[in-house]
């Protein structure tokens, strides 16, 4: 088995279309003069591909912004809604991501898992005292943490499927089996891309560490949010293993996984917020 190269991944992502729902939403919203900026931002932030493609342009060395922009809302404040809107159109016209659907991985459920993790991660950050301004970074980290998997599913489906099957049959963590079958795991791919997109280092690092012991608050929030989304069966991204909270994590939050879910209002409440984010 040959390891897939970083360049193959980068080339694929460059030409990668966004998710069907957000492409349609962006096209509908931008063809109507009266659409609100709020709805356009929501359509973009509900899609990891759309989001990174816009942040990537703004953060590119080409424009040399002094502070790296890590959310669509902050980008809007700097360059204005019209430029954001036109960048979104340029992503939308690439086309629509062909939904990958097997019994072990489904694009729609992947999106739900990503948005659930995003919402929970942001909520945990705010619970820990992170300001509303910076908690948007935590949302983006959740939205992007499994980006590597959608790249695997779309670009290397056979090999990814072997990893999914083996993980499902043996109950082994999917990221370990990705290394076996693809030579790299989705967290490493996510980190590599986040660095390439020039997202803030702390955000990139949290993505890299989301299956490892976390080194800071950002990492803990993302780890916990991912496990909570899995526990609540809010979508799925193919990994059957729910990792227990390490002691450090329980001490940090002063609560375990179930307590935190309860605090956020329970699974049905979280699910309803996530459905709103997806636009169902």
């Amino acid at each position: 088995m040959s390891t897939i190269s970083e360049q193959e991944i980068i080339d694929y992502v460059e030409a990668m279309p966004a998710f069907p729902k957000s492409v349609n939403k962006v096209i509908n919203l931008t063809s109507n003069m009266d659409s609100s900026a709020k709805d356009i931002v929501a359509a973009i932030e509900g899609d990891p591909v759309m989001t990174v493609k816009i942040l990537k342009v703004i953060n590119s060395a080409f424009y040399n912004l002094q502070t790296k922009v890590s959310s669509v809302q902050r980008a809007l404040v700097i360059i204005g809604i019209n430029t954001i809107k036109n960048l979104a159109i340029s992503v939308a016209i690439i086309g629509i991501l062909k939904p990958y659907k097997t019994k072990l991985f489904d694009t729609d459920l992947f999106l739900e898992h990503s948005l659930a993790t995003a919402f929970i991660c942001k909520s945990l950050a705010e619970r820990q005292g992170i300001s509303a301004l910076h908690s948007t970074d935590y949302f983006i980290a959740g939205l992007l943490h499994d980006f590597g998997k959608i790249v695997f599913a779309e670009r290397f489906p056979e090999r990814f499927n072997l990893a999914l099957e083996e993980s499902s049959e043996t109950g082994t963590d999917l990221s370990l089996l990705e290394v076996t079958h693809l030579g790299i795991n989705h967290a490493q791919v996510g980190y590599m891309l986040a660095v390439k997109w020039e997202l803030p280092e702390e955000l990139a690092k949290a993505i890299e560490e989301h299956h490892k012991p976390a080194s800071n608050l950002f990492g803990h929030c993302l780890f916990a949010a991912n496990q909570m989304a899995k526990q609540g069966e809010l979508g799925t991204s193919g990994n059957p293993v729910i990792e227990p909270f390490p002691t450090e994590c329980i001490e940090l939050f002063g609560a375990d996984l179930d307590d935190l879910i309860e605090e956020l209002g329970g699974i049905p409440a979280i699910k309803s917020t996530v459905q709103q984010l997806i636009g169902v």
Binding site: V57, Q73, V77, I79, G80, N82, A132
Partner: protein
């Protein structure tokens, strides 16, 4: 340092008897350092009148800072006659467009295309240079230091601070302070407001204490409330910004095209009445008026 307004109108030229006092040309400001180095802020239709004035000084070296590429800020470029005269050196500065990925050169290239103008860009006889500017990245023009900052408008727009001879001025180009797109009951409201405040603080930091602030103030507050998101500011917002930034003089420009001289006079009188204790001089920008700092 001194500067002179050659165009103060927004959107479209408005010649005619009702705009004789303040002028009908679109944005163009001539800045001269004490050494007489020439910096031009935007090349709206006012650039044509400026060019006529400059013809007596050929050859010239001009540095044109473009805030953004909407027509009223670039339409004078093909009519800036020094670009057709050999021996002149014209440097054009501006931001890159994020959607097309193209630099400022495109503004001139497009205007000189066959369908829009008879002379192709290849026939420019002056030595024309293009320079892409970046947020916060200072650069020098002769003895002057220029600091660009991205400001909210429906296209990439840079405001420029110019420091020279111990004096300073800042021109916004077109600018609307971003309003909160969320309602107070939305979860995103506070975070978005913090992002706005952070950005406004960065602007205030950049313009702090300038001798002259020249700012887009197209609307009255009543008009602005109907035109949120159009990318332009109000008189009241301009005064608030100038107050917070402790500027010495404030020049209100980018006059709304339907506004006549009498209306601008009335607005000015009203502002002086409503703000009796401003800590700075307040002016309505007027074509061909020169200001020495």
């Amino acid at each position: 340092m001194k500067f002179k307004f050659w165009g103060v109108r927004g959107s479209i030229p408005t010649p005619g008897p009702s705009t004789v006092k303040y002028g009908g040309n679109t944005t163009c400001i001539e800045v001269r350092t004490d050494n007489n180095d020439l910096i031009i802020l935007d090349a709206g239709t006012g650039a044509h009148a400026l060019a006529q004035d400059l013809l007596q000084y050929m050859p010239i070296k001009a540095h044109i800072l473009i805030t953004h590429t909407h027509w009223d800020h670039i339409q004078g470029l093909p009519f800036f006659t020094p670009i057709y005269i050999p021996g002149n050196s014209i440097s054009i500065y501006g931001g890159r467009d994020m959607v097309t990925g193209q630099g400022i050169q495109r503004a001139l290239d497009v205007q000189h295309q066959y369908s829009f103008f008879p002379i192709p860009v290849g026939h420019l006889k002056a030595d024309v240079h293009y320079n892409d500017v970046n947020e916060g990245e200072k650069f020098n023009i002769a003895d002057a230091t220029v600091t660009p900052i991205t400001l909210n408008h429906p296209v990439i727009n840079f405001g420029y601070r110019i420091d020279c001879d111990g004096q300073s001025l800042f021109f916004t180009g077109d600018y609307e302070q971003q309003y909160n797109i969320y309602s107070p009951e939305d979860a995103e409201y506070i975070g978005f407001q913090e992002a706005i405040d952070e950005r406004v603080d960065a602007l205030i930091n950049t313009i702090q204490g300038v001798d002259a602030l020249i700012i887009d103030s197209s609307f009255t507050t009543e008009e602005y409330n109907q035109k949120k998101g159009w990318g332009h500011g109000s008189y009241d917002a301009a005064i608030e910004l100038a107050t917070r930034a402790n500027v010495k003089q404030l020049f209100l420009t980018h006059h709304e095209p339907t506004r006549n001289d009498d209306q601008l006079d009335t607005i000015y009188a009203d502002l002086l009445k409503r703000y009796p204790n401003l800590g700075f001089e307040l002016h309505i920008a007027q074509e061909r008026v020169q200001v020495s700092l």
